[in-house]
């Protein structure tokens, strides 16, 4: 009866091909980085772009080793790690708040078609408002209302997070085939059982796709949220600061951009790893 087996359940790959696969996996992205770096440096030569407009890549990275505050302060890298940590904390808080809110909205919308139709346009509309304009309204407004500083800052990250989570989770909850629901009905399952054993696990892959989008968006949200809060630490203030001195020291701003990208990547990787641990799915 095993003749119609499509795929052996225990395919154990040996070390050799596995290592080769790891190379194959990382090689394309490394090649792209190398190409981009080459284009960067080449265009500097070809178009004769001065260092004040586009610094050498190497000077951006050596910037991390420089001492701040006229050569007496901590190394730039120390400062950046501290600030990146602060921004990451804000991003995670916002991600959690937005994620919970997004899931709750999706659950409500999945239960009531009327509410979904009525409210979804406003959910979409919320993302069309210029973020830069509403950030001060929300952060300063909520701060004046007595909310703690960390909450005020993370609300923008939450604002960017809840949207993809609402849309993704709703799609996931609605992804259950009618026949799967009919089977549950034939077992005389309670609505609670249908949710826990069918709807929620079926929605998880959709939820994680949304969470991955949200993880990177929440870092941007955290940076934007830091700006009106007046707080001195975080990547947001660093960027504002570096932007003011861009004409004299452009590598500072580039370094800050680089760091904020790393924070986003790190968060994304964290969510992907969680997904792999939780979602048991076909490996395509």
């Amino acid at each position: 009866m095993s003749d119609d087996l499509a795929l052996p359940p225990n395919t154990v790959a040996t070390g050799g091909p596995n290592r080769l696969r790891a190379y194959r996996r990382w090689l394309p992205s490394l090649a792209i980085i190398a190409t981009l770096a080459a284009i960067w440096e080449l265009s500097k030569i070809v178009f004769a772009i001065p260092d004040t407009k586009l610094p050498h890549l190497i000077s951006i990275f050596t910037e991390f080793g420089e001492r701040t505050q006229g050569g007496n302060g901590p190394l730039w890298i120390e400062l950046m790690v501290k600030n990146a940590g602060a921004t990451f904390t804000v991003a995670v808080l916002g991600f959690v708040i937005g994620g919970v809110l997004g899931c709750l909205l999706a659950l409500v919308f999945a239960r009531s078609e009327l509410l979904a139709r009525g409210c979804l346009p406003y959910v979409v509309g919320s993302q069309l408002v210029p973020l830069l304009a509403i950030a001060p309204m929300i952060v300063i407004g909520i701060g004046r209302a007595g909310a703690p500083d960390w909450l005020a800052k993370s609300l923008i990250a939450a604002y960017l997070t809840f949207f993809p989570v609402t849309v993704g989770m709703l799609r996931g909850l609605r992804s259950v085939p009618a026949d799967a629901l009919a089977l549950m009905r034939s077992y005389a399952a309670t609505p609670w059982q249908v949710f826990w054993k069918l709807r929620l696990p079926a929605a998880l892959p959709f939820l994680f796709t949304a969470l991955k989008i949200a993880s990177t968006a929440s870092v941007i949200g955290a940076i934007v949220g830091e700006l009106p809060s007046g707080s001195p630490i975080g990547i947001g203030p660093v960027i504002v600061n570096a932007a003011q001195y861009y004409s004299s020291r452009p590598q500072n701003l580039w370094a800050a951009v680089f760091v904020s990208c790393l924070v986003g990547l790190f968060f994304y990787a964290l969510v992907s790893l969680t997904e792999r641990l939780i979602v048991r799915r076909r490996v395509s």
């Binding site: 095993s2 087996l5 359940p9 009919a182 005389a188 998880l204």
Partner: protein
């Protein structure tokens, strides 16, 4: 004659569609005996799936009555009288084969040890003992449908409803699955209602073939299949098999 297991009396089903009213079933009367194997056959739109779904309380009739051991279909469903197999296996990707089969028992609050015991017994019956820990997507279509059958029978329902269960399989796998279904059925006391498009499949499996016609969906004829059991590959070569297939085909032409 024993007390019928299923009694259908004057059943009508009318759908509201954009084009107006569609009569899916008109005045259907049918009785089915315990442990009987009955096929519903007919072209698309004859209401055979609708009739199966009405019996299983997956949809409601417009008028008429269905009695299952004297109960309403809803009561029978709440008593877990129905095991259902659809054309698609509808397995849960995130559960192993074993845990898929245990699902109905989980819903019904059966203890873990009892669940494992019954699931492994059913998986043995459908010949999947070696694949309990595999995931559904690691199995072929035929094997997935076996899991689906094991899941439908694991709580020993008295009625097995099958909606074109082998419709998506190739002809060779299909004939083998038909043979296996008869073996499994012989070991249970289940009454089977089997929806199909295939004339040889209906004749090979059934005690009676209910021939249906569309617009409006109704019962055209009922053909009794008096082929000896157990049936096997030689059954398909009997002259009587061809005669019965021809009879069903002619009834379908009306």
């Amino acid at each position: 004659m024993t007390e019928p297991l299923i009694a259908i009396d004057g059943l009508n089903k009318i759908y509201q569609s954009a084009a107006g009213q569609v009569t899916a079933l008109a005045n259907v009367n049918l009785t089915i005996q315990p442990s009987e194997f009955v096929s519903l056959i007919g072209p698309s739109g004859c209401g055979k799936s609708t009739l199966m779904r009405l019996i299983g309380d997956l949809t409601q009739p417009s008028s008429g009555a269905i009695r299952i051991k004297g109960k309403t279909p809803e009561q029978a469903r709440r008593d877990r009288d129905y095991g259902i197999v659809f054309q698609a296996p509808v397995l849960y990707d995130w559960r192993t084969v074993e845990r898929n089969v245990e699902l109905p028992l989980e819903v019904m609050g059966v203890t873990r040890t009892e669940r494992t015991r019954r699931a492994s017994e059913m998986l043995g019956l459908v010949g999947l003992n070696d694949f309990v820990k595999a995931y559904p997507w690691q199995l072929s279509g035929g094997m997935q449908q076996r899991v689906s059958i094991a899941r439908a029978l694991v709580f020993s329902p008295s009625i097995l409803l099958m909606d074109e269960p082998f419709g998506a399989l190739d002809e060779i796998t299909r004939e083998r699955m038909q043979q296996e279904l008869l073996t499994i059925w012989a070991r249970t006391n289940a009454t089977v209602i089997f929806v199909t498009h295939s004339i040889p499949e209906a004749v090979f499996l059934s005690d009676r073939v209910v021939v249906m016609s569309p617009r409006p969906g109704r019962i055209e004829a009922i053909v009794s299949v008096n082929l000896p059991r157990p049936r096997d590959i030689t059954t398909r070569e009997m002259p009587r098999f061809f005669e019965l297939a021809t009879e069903v085909r002619e009834r379908l032409r009306h």
